[in-house]
Amino acid sequence: DAGVTQSPTHLIKTRGQQVTLRCSPKSGHDTVSWYQQALGQGPQFIFQYYEEEERQRGNFPDRFSGHQFPNYSSELNVNALLLGDSALYLCASSLFLALTNYGYTFGSGTRLTVV
């Protein structure tokens, strides 16, 4: 049973560019959440998608946007990249309304470096 799959694993971009990160949720899961983990920090919630809609959003600027497809997979887009966007981006999948006992299933992340 495949877990959460993220691609690519590593990415180097230049300031001002745009980037798209991809996530396939664990089989049976319908909800995808994205987190940013800067070096030495814990993961920070970016947003959550369910039924192809953004359901909740953390304290991130509009440069961060996302999408969920009918097959539950998701994309995270970041425009006008800043050096401070360099981080590990984690995707987590879950079943909507079934978060209590098991939390999320996280992917291994995409390491984004902005130069």
Partner: protein, 116 residues
């Protein structure tokens, strides 16, 4: 403003002994707490959780204790094994209190090293 704090960046323990990882929180609306374990180049893996209606939850070698009045929780690992060496994150949510369902608030993590 950090709502979840893990004040010890690292902890070193001898194999077979107890590891105690601590976590403090400030938001009294938090009602569900989770611990995640993270190895390098992998995503965080769920370890154990506790609801605010309980003060203890046990799963094998792992026990989480919650002290609501002190806004403090701890993870005990007994006995510690070298394979437990990883970064441990404490996370909290306010789902039961009408908070945002997707939003887990994480601490900065504690790196545990278990020496053989």
């Amino acid at each position: 403003d950090q709502q979840v704090k893990q004040n010890s960046p690292s902890l070193s323990v001898q194999e077979g002994r107890i590891s105690i990882l601590n976590c403090d929180y400030t938001n009294s609306m938090f009602d569900y707490f989770l611990w995640y374990k993270k190895y390098p180049a992998e995503g965080p893996t769920f370890l154990i959780s506790i609801s605010s209606i309980k003060d203890k939850n046990e799963d094998g070698r792992f026990t989480v204790f919650l002290n609501k009045s002190a806004k403090h929780l701890s993870l005990h690992i007994v006995p510690s094994q070298p394979g437990d060496s990883a970064v441990y994150f404490c996370a909290a949510s306010d789902w039961g209190n009408g908070g945002s369902q997707g939003n887990l608030i994480f601490g900065k993590g504690t790196k545990l090293s278990v020496k053989p």
